[in-house]
Symmetry: C2
Amino acid sequence: MTKYEKQIYDIVNASRQHMTADQVYGELQKIYPAVSRATVYNNLNKLCDLGMIRRLPLEDSPDRYDRIEKHDHLVCQKCGKLSDICFDDLTQSLKDQFGEAFLYYDLKVFYICPDCRNAQSSKPSI
Amino acid sequence: MTKYEKQIYDIVNASRQHMTADQVYGELQKIYPAVSRATVYNNLNKLCDLGMIRRLPLEDSPDRYDRIEKHDHLVCQKCGKLSDICFDDLTQSLKDQFGEAFLYYDLKVFYICPDCRNAQSSKPSI
DNA sequence: TTTTTGATTTAGAACTGTTCTAATAAATTT
DNA sequence: AAATTTATTAGAACAGTTCTAAATCAAAAA
């Protein structure tokens, strides 16, 4: 594991979650100012392949990278903000259904976040 | 609703599911040979905004467009093939948790499809 | 009808996020 | 230390999608 790989792993895990490749690049530059964007993508891909981090593909937005620990995501339809949720675990049920073939699942729950709801409701409705 | 919008809606709903924008474009060209790619994107976006079709963002693959009817997706990690599944509905549980703020959810189950499993196991293991 | 208005479509340029390439540097093995 | 492998770099290339500005179409108004 190279210093970059390790550092990128730490950044994705430690920082506020759901970082874009570019945000990871920004953080990494603070430590290694000469690092290249390619290194960030290379290592993010490698870490994903190794199953050490997860990639979250989203609509209209670059991929996010997240810690592997099992949790689901809440996505605000209005502002796009992501948050973590711990929803009832579906793993057992999926294992029952698909046996060994089952690998993992990705659950995104779309909603309107409290901030956006407040912004809406504070406007006069007529 | 314009003829293109209607036609694109029909293509997404009628055809084998999970079409890419390009596949939709291909189908639409059979009917309107002069149609432009921009029209396809414009109308797919409009239909998504209207909630008449859904967009499925995937890793390493262009977005797919799908009928709106509630169902979940099974994605082969090896070959990328998508299939539909009807998993236990989580809607009520999510409504209980998030109330009116809840909109919808997207569940993708990753697995190794039967074809890929067979391809693997038929290779000698030593 | 014609005219006006607004929405839709078009072609292709532009853009964004990501991957690729070929050269360089670093690490590891011999 | 020489040879080999692996990682990194800069920037070009690429794919998918959006944008732009002109052209066309459709509906409503005159």
